[in-house]
Symmetry: C2
Subunit: 329 residues, 2 copies
Amino acid sequence: MGGGGDQGGRESRVRVDLTAVVIAMRDGEPHVLTVANDGASGVALPFGPLQAGHPTLQTGLRRWVEDLTHRKLGYVEQLYTFADHAPFQPNADHGADHQTISIAYLALAASPEDSATLQGRWRRWYGFFPWEDRRGGGPAARAHLLERLFAWAEAQRDAGDADCVERVRLAFGADGAAWDEERALERYEMLYEADLAPEAALDLGLEPSAAANGMPGLPMFADHRRILATAISRLRAKIKYRPVLFELMPAAFTLTNLQRTAEALSGVPLHKQNFRRLVAQQGLVEDTGAMATGTGGRPAKLVRFRREVTVERPAPGVRLRATRRGSYP
Amino acid sequence: MGGGGDQGGRESRVRVDLTAVVIAMRDGEPHVLTVANDGASGVALPFGPLQAGHPTLQTGLRRWVEDLTHRKLGYVEQLYTFADHAPFQPNADHGADHQTISIAYLALAASPEDSATLQGRWRRWYGFFPWEDRRGGGPAARAHLLERLFAWAEAQRDAGDADCVERVRLAFGADGAAWDEERALERYEMLYEADLAPEAALDLGLEPSAAANGMPGLPMFADHRRILATAISRLRAKIKYRPVLFELMPAAFTLTNLQRTAEALSGVPLHKQNFRRLVAQQGLVEDTGAMATGTGGRPAKLVRFRREVTVERPAPGVRLRATRRGSYP
DNA sequence: CGCCTTATAGTCAATCTGAGCATAAGGCGA
DNA sequence: TCGCCTTATGCTCAGATTGACTATAAGGCG
């Protein structure tokens, strides 16, 4: 893999797939577009072989996904290129025959109504990563997960990996460590290594271990759950310094809508007043003049995103500040 | 390009290249490893066809580059996957025959002594991007570049792209706009679009335009200068939130050494006292006990990187704060 | 021995941030 | 109709962070 230009190695042409993580909000929850797959693990991200004929990968992917979803994509970004469907599987024995490269993209779409023409199905992303939702509730399941994970980490420590317990503690914000919502990928990789993700066993051609069977979170085809975790990490980081959040919002929305979206993506409750101050200070939105009624209290202003900021400001994101107390008042 | 799993399109196997951007410090300046290339544009990044046999792309690349440079790499990160050697060339006519995917990696190496066994040559990175060095001097050449660029932008504006002049102003920090060192890629892409990079003409099979001929900065083979710009942007961003800077330092160094390295990479002068405060506060280094003599003044403490922070802190980077005045005292 | 150079410590004001209280304005039930 | 519940929005305040400066330390060198 990789060599000087002319050292005579077999220059194998490989199969290249595109994989798309398409995110949209429905009912205030982030959803991801999935397709049915023939294999045992039914749920998959949309993927397909790379085909020639587009000037760039990005425009090609955009066209393809827009055909699939029948709606315009607001934002497209390359995520990562994976060399195989189980990139960090230690004892892989795949020969040069079936080597596959898969180039993963993140795409954001406006909220979809259910259209009959859609090929695929939107699924709540926390269905795949329940432990990533820290907005409230469910600490019991989390405790169970941590227990399993620490048991594995202690075994690793005894086997020579001194830092393993500490790494788990920090990644999962246990025992007083701060929770960093951006480390979603790292957390998934830890669970995978600990054999607590059913895919880990499936990749080896085994039945899922007893441990993995009881674990929360839907598995996905091949390494698609890892790709989704990559997307979540990237998106959670990105909304803090780029105005991508607005690609998921309707044309007009209230500041609370915006905050709920930010919270749903990052999985963390935010401080209301400070969130508003930040959005206002950065000049990210402007009044539409209309008001939203039926919110159950005082009507809220409907605002719209100021597209101009994309030009005028270098880094106008929605900086997220989690409340210290970590729950709604 | 991209399609559903089984929609019967030609599933063309494509050629996949790895390209490496290997960075090291020499004489206080960042250098990049280059190789001679047969083509007209002599200077290229090391690249070669992907070869099977490694568990992950990353370890394969690491092995390959370590063979090339005869030294351990401190850090390896995937940069981007390019679909063709001129990804944003509008009127490309490449058929499906010679489609090439190129996966680019960023690698950091400790300072190299010149070894006879090295295949390749280290070159100062600002030789390729003189306008990216804002540590002092040379505003004359920069003014010349800006003049050319604004001339192009005004033509674009008259042709219908209303924001073009403003985008140039913001990207290049002209007319009072703040300079953002992380936008190196964006700046290169603008120069390319403006036909002020010789590669832009070469890609179209033409002689470099008169405009491009007079422009500063060495051109590179194919899209390698764009890949290098991607690496520079990524590295300049990364040193602010991850301790990658230390991968480029020797085992023991002074705080001034560290600051000079940070300045050389980011291309911006930093405020000395605040830089020290930041490094100290974050606990990134510890005393070795030894002192550095021969610095021309009071001897400085020699410190070393605290490897532990990689485990203990989630985001321990060297936050760079440019001085407002923008030059050394 | 005084002066030049660089290293390092400490101070201070402006700003930012996290968190609180207070008030506004709709709906709804008694 | 009036008070109460709910959400929206405005304002304050203390502590932390940041940008910039001053002062002192400790080598080398004429």
